[in-house]
Amino acid sequence: MTVDELKETFGFFDDWEDKYRFVIDMGKDLPDMPDADKLEDNLVRGCQSQVWLTHSLGDDGKLSLHIDSDAFIVRGLISIVLAALDGKTPEEILGYDVEALFDELELLTHLSPTRGNGLRAMVARIRQIAEAESV
């Protein structure tokens, strides 16, 4: 699903229930990361749930991101981040405002530091990767 499709879909939701059912369903559909990749080095630790992140840079200069979590809602939110950032160049990633997207989808609270879900740290980690790869 593209970011534009996500925005359109979220526009149809009348209440929190529809929205969270959708986020959870996206979370269930997110491909699992192989256990072999769930290494300490790939872990973005949250206070409550954990996120694992790996990446590779293709010959076309685009970053492939692989992200997983142990919580469904976080996995659903990861799907949204991937829709925005996966398969983009490091420069495109650095120029993208993830907070603005979450704000528009009315999910911004999930990026707040008190949530302890690792999502905020994950977005910061993706930007670090993009910065390192853009040099």
Binding site: W16, E17, Y20, R21, I24, C47, Q48, S49, D70, A71, F72, I73, V74, G116, N117
Partner: protein, 400 residues
């Protein structure tokens, strides 16, 4: 019940068109008007530094703060006022003791804890172990959330210098047999430290009867303000404990070649104390003395039991911890869901619970789970709160 709810202004807050259901009381409780007013009145009418000036405001501030100490003394049944040391909270109280007991431990000595402890009753002891060469041992917790007493007696030896445990578990609500544990540890020659943070609101604590050497609790978990708590210590233990922070208030005389210290409790209260906090805590104690606490605790236990039996009806509900005696906490999981998913879905329904490891990671490791969803009750929670929780959990399971 409705009378006590009216004392807590925050309970009137509406969130998503419904009153907020606050079930994170083990983290911190809400504050009654009596406490809020006591703090505001202190700043409005009586503010001055304590213990060292001969004018009316200073006398009033000193009296208010020392009255609060006396109230805390009576509240936990301490024999002497001097046994009540004001600290920032339970964490600071335990750190104070652990710092002061450095010289008690030699390499190879043992500090006995339990797997049920909050990090605040683990990490200060680990730091002491690092300084002294002592070894940390921990009493195992059983799958039902009770301490394994056989393991306790096996690990309690003549090497045990210090035994530290909580009175009530913050993560599971287990009420530990503190009197039995303390007695056995004392008989073995250990110094005993009890973390009472989760106990003081829900139980009548009598430190003299419990006969522990130290007992710690926080104001903010018993309707008082944050940033204030109490370390109780038997007077001879406090006399023997070296001061841990130096400065004003805690000294008798100072010359550049050396200083002499005050007696307890002032020896441990360097610098200007949290006067407003102490007065707020005193007001919280007075408040608890004025309400029918026994009846309210009985009603709370009944509410928790009833809520638990309703939650058990929900398919996929899995209770974590089935202690013989439970205090105000229901810790649980929903099959197939991460605790955080459940917490987020309850938040959407205006029900505030805590999810995660509850600052008890060793306990979660022992139980083999990433964390739990924890609903923790207080004396003002009512049947509607319980009903909203049950309905919210029920609905959450349909998402997962």
């Amino acid at each position: 019940m409705s009378a006590i709810r009216a004392d807590f202004p925050i309970l009137e807050r509406v969130h998503r068109d419904a009153p907020l259901v606050y079930l994170d009381n083990a983290a911190t409780t809400q504050k009654p008007v009596a406490v809020i007013d006591a703090i505001a009145d202190y700043y409005r009418l009586h503010n001055a530094n304590v213990h060292r000036a001969a004018y009316v405001l200073a006398e009033e501030a000193t009296t208010l703060m020392e009255d609060a100490r006396t109230a805390c003394q009576a509240f936990i049944g301490a024999r002497e006022r001097a046994e009540i040391v004001f600290t920032r909270g339970t964490t600071e109280a335990i750190n104070l003791v652990a710092n002061g007991l450095s010289s008690v431990c030699e390499p190879g000595d043992e500090i006995l804890l339990t797997e049920l402890e909050h990090h605040s009753n683990i990490v200060p002891w680990q730091m002491l172990a690092e300084r002294s060469g002592a070894v940390i041992r921990a009493v195992k917790v059983r799958a039902d959330g009770e301490l394994d007493l056989e393991d306790f007696y096996a690990k309690l030896t003549d090497k045990t210098r210090i035994f530290a445990c909580n009175h009530v578990s913050n993560a599971l609500g287990t009420v530990n047999p503190a009197a039995e544990l303390v007695q056995a540890a004392r008989d073995a020659g250990a110094i005993t430290v009890v973390d009472g943070a989760q106990a003081v609101l829900h139980k009548h604590v009598d430190v003299a009867a419990l006969d522990c050497d130290f007992y710690a609790f926080s104001g903010h978990k018993m309707y008082g303000p944050t940033g204030i708590g109490v370390l109780y210590g038997k007077l001879d233990r406090l006399e023997a404990l070296p001061p841990w922070q130096g400065g004003g208030e805690m000294i008798e005389t100072v010359t550049l070649s050396g200083s002499t210290y005050q007696r307890p409790p002032y020896k441990f209260e360097a610098g200007t104390p949290h006067i407003a906090g102490a007065i707020g805590l005193g007001a919280a104690v007075s408040y608890l003395n004025d309400i029918s606490r026994d009846e309210l605790v009985a009603a709370e236990n009944e509410l928790v039991a009833k809520t638990l039996s309703q939650l058990r009806q929900i398919p996929g509900f899995r209770l974590v911890g089935e202690p013989a005696e439970r205090s105000a906490v229901i810790s649980f999981l929903i099959d197939g869901a991460h605790p955080q998913d459940v917490g987020t879905l309850l938040d959407q329904q205006g029900v505030a619970v805590r999810t995660g490891h509850h600052c008890a990671m060793p306990l979660m490791q022992a139980l083999g789970i990433p964390g739990t969803v924890r609903a923790s009750f207080s004396l003002y929670n009512n049947a509607e709160d319980a009903d909203r929780l049950v309905r919210a959990v029920d609905k959450a399971t349909t998402f997962l």
